[in-house]
Chain length 203, copies 2
């Protein structure tokens, strides 16, 4: 199984590494980290991950994964990247995104008329496309699955494994990463926090 993850500058590391940790456990799977150039890409804080392949070298994938991050906005007008995403999507069994990665799928036209989601701070931006934005942790519409913000990539990846390999395998992967979450607060979603806290994000 060929899994292709798009790298770009100012990606969010956890968007990428959450699903990476889960999907890598699939048997006979190989993950390709792919960028416009064969170079190191930096996340928001400077974590450098090398793209082993350029997008020119990758023609197909079983799974295409687009992580999010502040850098996604720099790609929304990049015809080379958008054309590549459309081409790869023609070959995929699954096309998935985490966080603001769904904006790139939307810009490529892959979410037209579909249900989807994104990071809570990006929902208004995603609504500008011809899509129905849901308040879910992840949304499947056909072969496309879009996840909510950052950490939601872990839940989405486990769900994807259940679709590919069955519930028992997905449960074993969940146990392997001891994903029995106990966040210290019940505040991980904007409907769970006071308005003053949301306002601080917009300052």
């Amino acid at each position: 199984m060929k899994i292709v993850i798009l790298l770009f500058d100012y990606y969010t590391a956890l968007d990428l590494v959450g699903p990476y940790e889960v999907l890598n456990k699939l048997p006979d799977c190989k993950i390709y980290l792919v960028g416009i150039e064969k170079k190191e890409y930096q996340d928001t804080y400077g974590l450098r991950i090398l793209a082993d392949n350029t997008i020119e070298e990758i023609f197909e994938a079983d799974i295409l994964l687009i992580p999010g991050g502040p850098g996604i906005d720099n790609l929304l007008k990049n015809k080379e990247v958008l054309d590549w995403i459309k081409k790869i999507d023609c070959s995929t069994k699954w096309t998935v995104s985490v966080c603001s990665g769904s904006l790139l799928l939307a810009q490529a036209g892959l979410l037209d008329g579909k249900n989807c989601t994104t990071h809570w701070r990006r929902k208004d931006q995603l609504r500008r496309f011809n899509v129905t934005v849901k308040n879910e942790r992840y949304v499947q519409d056909g072969k496309i699955i879009t996840a909510a913000g950052v950490s939601a990539g872990i839940d989405m990846a486990l769900y994807l494994v259940s679709k590919i390999a069955g519930d028992k395998i997905a449960m074993m992967f969940q146990l392997a990463i001891e994903y029995d979450p106990k966040p210290p607060f019940d505040c991980g979603s904007p409907d769970k926090v006071p308005k003053e806290m949301l306002d601080k994000f917009n300052k």
Copy 2:
């Protein structure tokens, strides 16, 4: 705030990137990725992350974080690393671990007589030390916090932020990574799955 994370070959990427994503949001914080050598270290599946500094170049830290992974066993007899951990711990406000990283803290003598935890598959190994192993998502004992397996580093890091910067800041960080987990199964802990599933891990 100087945060030092130890890199080594066969680290688990999510052990590192979960807390990395959370702790990096602290104001005036800088994360140092540190290895025995200044080189790229590979995780279990080949993800390469560069150590910017060697352990010889780092003399102190506000937070020392030891991630886990299969490679931790290769360090348990490494006197240079153990001595460095003991030295750095003398300067820290917090010394923390994720997953099997706690074994390295134990081997360095830092968990003597303390409450702690680790990945569920490593608990018997940790019990061989003079420690009390708890079945908790993360365990604080004084300035030491040890987290359970892999994904538990996210919960631990948010808790640590609440101790450093207060609950409101920690809640904002949790909201920023949209950590409102909804795992597809309730099976992330060994007490939640049938024995047959646990047996498969030992095959």
